[in-house]
C-alpha cells in the first residue's frame, strides 16, 4: 500500500512536469497549427535564467521566488521577440519548412546557451520552505515535489479557465475554428497569435523554473524530454489542452509503475502506447477527428 501511494505520487510529479512542458506546445499547435521544436530549448533557457537571477539575488530571502518571476518575465520578452522575428513568418509555411526552421533554432539556441552559461551543470538551491519532507508511515513526500505538483495543477487550471471561461478564450478558440471571421469582426489575428506564442513560452518557462527545484540545469535537459513530450501530446490529442493533461497523468503513472514490473521497457511502453493511439485513434484521446488534417 505504501509502495502504491509512493509510486502514484512520484508518477504524478512526473506527470506535472510532462504537462508543464507539453501544454505550451499543445496550445500553440491547437490554435496556430505550428509545431515548435525549439519549445524545449526555451524550457532549458528558462532554467538557466532562473539560475542567473537566483545567483544575482543570493542572500535575499525570497531569492528563488523572485528569480522565478523574473525568469518568467524574461522568457515572455524573449518569446515576444522570437515571435515577431521568426514565428509569425512561418505560420503559413509548409510543415517541413516549419519543422526545419524551428529545428535550426534548436541548434542556435542550444549553442548560444552554451556560450553564455558554459557547459558545467548548475543548480539552484531549494528555498528553505521546500527542503522538508512530509512523512507519514512509509510514505514520504518531499515539499519540492509537492510544490511542482501544485504548480502543474494551478497552471493547468489557470490556462483552462482562460481558454474555456473568458472572452479571450473564446476568441482564441475562434482563431482556430473560424480564422477568417476574426479579422471581419475587427480582431487582429496576428496579435492573437503573438499572445498565444508568448503564453506557450510562459508555460515552458514555468516548467523550466520548476525543474530547477528537481534537478540540474544542464545543456542536455531538453533533449531527454523531447520525444516523451511528443508522445504525451499525441496520446492526449494534438491541440487538445485537456487531452494533454489527461495523457500526462496516464504517461506519468504508467511509467512509475512500469519501472517496478517491466523496468527495461518502461520507455518503449510509452512509444507503443503512442503508436497504438496513432493507428487507431490518431486524433488522440480527447481530440476530435475534425482536426486530423
Amino acid at each position: 500500500m505504501e509502495l502504491f501511494i509512493n509510486q502514484v505520487f512520484s508518477g504524478l510529479v512526473r506527470s506535472a512536469l510532462y504537462f508543464l512542458v507539453t501544454s505550451g506546445l499543445t496550445l500553440l499547435f491547437g490554435v496556430v497549427g505550428t509545431l515548435n521544436m525549439a519549445h524545449f530549448s526555451l524550457y532549458m533557457i528558462a532554467s538557466y535564467l532562473t539560475w542567473t537571477f537566483h545567483t544575482m539575488l543570493r542572500g535575499f530571502e525570497f531569492s528563488f521566488w523572485s528569480a522565478f518571476i523574473l525568469a518568467s518575465a524574461g522568457m515572455c520578452i524573449l518569446g515576444w521577440i522570437i515571435e515577431r522575428l521568426v514565428m509569425r513568418h512561418i505560420y503559413e509555411r509548409e510543415l517541413g519548412d516549419q519543422l526545419l526552421i524551428t529545428f535550426a533554432m534548436v541548434y542556435i539556441l542550444d549553442d548560444v546557451t552554451k556560450i553564455i552559461w558554459g557547459s558545467n551543470p548548475l543548480f539552484v538551491a531549494r528555498p528553505a520552505i521546500l527542503t522538508g519532507v512530509i512523512s507519514w508511515g512509509g510514505i514520504s513526500l518531499p515539499a519540492s515535489d509537492i510544490f511542482v505538483l501544485l504548480l502543474g495543477l494551478v497552471s493547468g487550471l489557470g490556462t483552462w479557465y482562460l481558454l474555456a471561461r473568458t472572452r479571450t478564450g473564446r476568441i482564441l478558440r475562434a482563431a482556430y475554428s473560424h480564422k477568417e471571421m476574426l479579422p471581419a469582426l475587427g480582431i487582429p489575428i496576428h496579435r492573437i497569435y503573438t499572445g498565444i506564442f508568448v503564453l506557450s513560452v510562459l508555460l515552458a518557462s514555468i516548467a523550466g523554473s520548476a525543474w530547477t527545484l528537481m534537478g540540474m540545469v544542464d545543456l542536455g535537459q531538453a533533449h531527454t524530454l523531447l520525444i516523451e513530450a511528443f508522445c504525451v501530446m499525441v496520446i492526449g490529442g494534438m491541440g487538445s489542452f485537456v487531452g494533454t493533461a489527461v495523457s500526462a497523468v496516464i504517461c506519468g503513472l504508467t511509467y512509475s509503475f512500469a519501472i517496478l514490473y517491466v523496468p527495461k521497457i518502461a520507455t518503449l511502453l510509452i512509444f507503443v502506447l503512442t503508436g497504438i493511439i496513432l493507428v487507431f485513434r490518431p486524433w488522440g484521446l480527447m481530440g476530435t477527428s475534425g482536426r486530423l488534417h
Binding site: 510529479v13 512526473r14 551543470p121 514520504s140 518531499p142 540540474m216 535537459q221 511509467y255 519501472i259 520507455t267
Partner: protein, 423 residues
C-alpha cells in the same frame, strides 16, 4: 517583396560561394606544412553539446601538460603542439575527425575520446593508420579485450577493473541486503553483472532485493527512489553518471534518501563540485583519480597549474588526461625517437611516474594498472564542495581480468593480438 527576396538570394549565393571556395582552399594547402620540429598530439573529445564538459576538462589538462613539457624544452627538442577536434559525442563525426587529425594535421598520437562507442569506432581508425592512441576517459573493456591493436593503450581503469575494485572494496563493508540502481547501458550492465557475481562468492549472505534500470537519459528519478526505499535495503549501489547522477542525488535528498540507507556511488569530482553542499556527507564514493587522495609535490604543481587555467580543482578526467600525455612524452623520451613502433614498444614495456604513482601497462591488453580510490565524503568549507576521507586505494593489479579469461574470450571471437614483447 520579391525584389527583397531576390536580393537576399543573391547575398546568399555569394556567402555559399565563399564557403565552397573556402572549403576548396582549405583542402588544397593545409597538408604537411607543419615544421619538422614539433610533436603533434591530437585531443579528440566532445566540445559541443551536453558532453562538452568532459572535453573541456581533458583539454585543459593536456594544455597544462604540454606547457610544462614545452617549458622544459619539449620532447627530444621538439615542441609539443596540441590539435583539438570535436567529436560531438557521435561515432561518425569522431571517426571523421580522427581521420582529419591523422591525414591533414599529421598528428603523431591521439588522446581521447569520451564515449565508449566513439572510442571503439576511433580505434578502427588508429588501427588502420597505425597511430599511437591513448584512452584517458572512455573505459569500456571491449577496447582492451577486442578492439586492441599494437598502438592502442588505455590509461583509465576499464569497466571490468572498476567493478572488480568495487567488489573488493565491498568485502570490508557491512551489509546484508543491497539494491543496485544503474543506468541502462553497457557500463551499468557490465558493472552490475560482475558485482552480482562477485558478491555471491565473497558475501553470500548479502541479498539482492531488486534492481533498477533507469534509461540513459533519465531526468526524473523519484519513482526509482521511492521504489528503492520501499525495499528497505542496507546498501544502495548507484551506477549513474554525469548530470543524471547529479539530478538523482538532488531528488534523492528531497526524499532524505541518504539518511535512510547507506549509499555507494561514484565521487567523480566534476559531479561532486557541481553539487557543492548538496552532495551528501558520509557517502561511500569511488573515483578513478582523486586529487585529495594523493599528496605529492607533483600533484600540488598540477593542481595549481590547472587552477590557473580553469579556476577549478582537477577532476579525475583531468588527472587521467594529464597522465596520458605525460606518459606519452616519457615513452617518446625513452624510445629516443618519434617513430611510432619504437614509442609503442616503449609504452608497453616502460614504468611511468604518474600523478597516481608508479604505473605501467600490461602487455597482454595494454591496460594500465591504474588504481581506484574509495573514500567517505565530507564537506570541505574552504573548497566549497565535498572531498573524501578514510581513503582506500585498490591497486589495479588486483582487479585485472585473468590472462586465461582474456585468451578464452579472444579465441572465441577469433581475435589475435600479439604484444610487442612477444614479437
Amino acid at each position: 517583396m520579391r525584389n527583397r527576396i531576390r536580393k537576399v538570394n543573391r547575398a546568399l549565393m555569394i556567402v555559399l560561394g565563399l564557403f565552397i571556395l573556402g572549403t576548396i582552399h582549405l583542402s588544397m594547402d593545409v597538408s604537411a606544412v607543419m615544421a619538422e620540429e614539433t610533436y603533434q598530439i591530437g585531443v579528440l573529445q566532445p566540445f559541443s553539446g551536453p558532453y562538452a564538459i568532459y572535453g573541456e576538462e581533458a583539454m585543459a589538462a593536456c594544455q597544462v601538460a604540454a606547457d610544462q613539457i614545452n617549458a622544459a624544452g619539449g620532447i627530444l627538442g621538439r615542441k609539443v603542439v596540441l590539435v583539438k577536434k570535436d567529436t560531438k559525442a557521435e561515432v561518425a563525426t569522431g571517426i571523421r575527425q580522427a581521420n582529419d587529425m591523422i591525414l591533414r594535421d599529421k598528428v603523431d598520437a591521439i588522446i581521447g575520446p569520451t564515449s565508449s562507442s566513439v572510442l571503439l569506432g576511433v580505434i578502427e581508425v588508429t588501427k588502420e593508420h597505425k597511430v599511437i592512441h591513448i584512452s584517458s576517459i572512455a573505459n569500456t573493456e571491449k577496447a582492451t579485450l577486442e578492439g586492441i591493436h599494437p598502438y592502442y593503450f588505455q590509461v583509465v581503469p576499464n569497466s571490468y577493473m572498476e567493478s572488480q575494485a568495487i567488489a573488493n572494496y565491498l568485502k570490508g563493508v557491512d551489509f546484508k541486503s543491497y539494491v543496485p540502481i544503474a543506468l541502462d547501458y553497457e557500463w551499468g550492465h557490465s558493472t552490475v553483472d560482475l558485482l552480482k557475481k562477485e558478491l555471491q562468492q565473497t558475501k553470500p549472505e548479502a541479498k539482492l532485493q531488486a534492481e533498477f534500470w533507469p534509461p540513459l537519459k533519465e531526468t526524473n528519478f523519484s519513482s526509482y527512489i521511492t521504489a528503492a526505499l520501499n525495499q528497505k535495503p542496507d546498501l544502495v549501489i548507484g551506477i549513474l553518471a554525469g548530470s543524471a547522477y547529479q539530478t538523482f542525488i538532488r531528488q534523492a535528498r528531497g526524499y532524505q534518501f541518504f539518511d535512510k540507507v547507506k549509499f555507494l556511488g561514484h565521487g567523480f569530482e566534476g559531479d561532486v563540485m557541481a553539487l557543492g553542499n548538496e552532495f551528501p556527507e558520509g557517502m561511500r564514493m569511488y573515483s578513478r583519480g582523486a586529487f585529495y587522495a594523493v599528496k605529492s609535490p607533483k600533484m600540488d604543481t598540477f593542481i595549481s597549474d590547472y587552477k590557473k587555467i580553469t579556476n577549478q580543482y582537477p577532476t579525475c578526467w583531468a588527472i587521467l588526461s594529464y597522465d596520458s600525455l605525460m606518459i606519452l612524452a616519457d615513452a617518446v623520451k625513452k624510445a629516443g625517437t618519434i617513430d611510432r613502433d619504437a614509442v609503442a614498444k616503449a609504452l608497453e614495456s616502460g614504468k611511468f611516474d604518474t600523478l597516481r604513482g608508479n604505473l605501467s601497462f600490461r602487455d597482454l591488453d595494454h591496460q594500465m594498472n591504474s588504481p581506484e580510490y574509495f573514500a567517505t565524503s565530507y564537506f570541505d568549507k574552504s573548497k566549497g564542495f565535498c572531498v573524501g576521507k578514510d581513503v582506500v586505494v585498490v591497486p589495479g593489479e588486483s582487479c585485472f581480468r585473468s590472462p586465461e579469461e582474456i585468451k578464452k574470450v579472444r579465441s572465441e571471437k577469433n581475435i589475435s593480438f600479439v604484444p610487442w614483447s612477444a614479437r
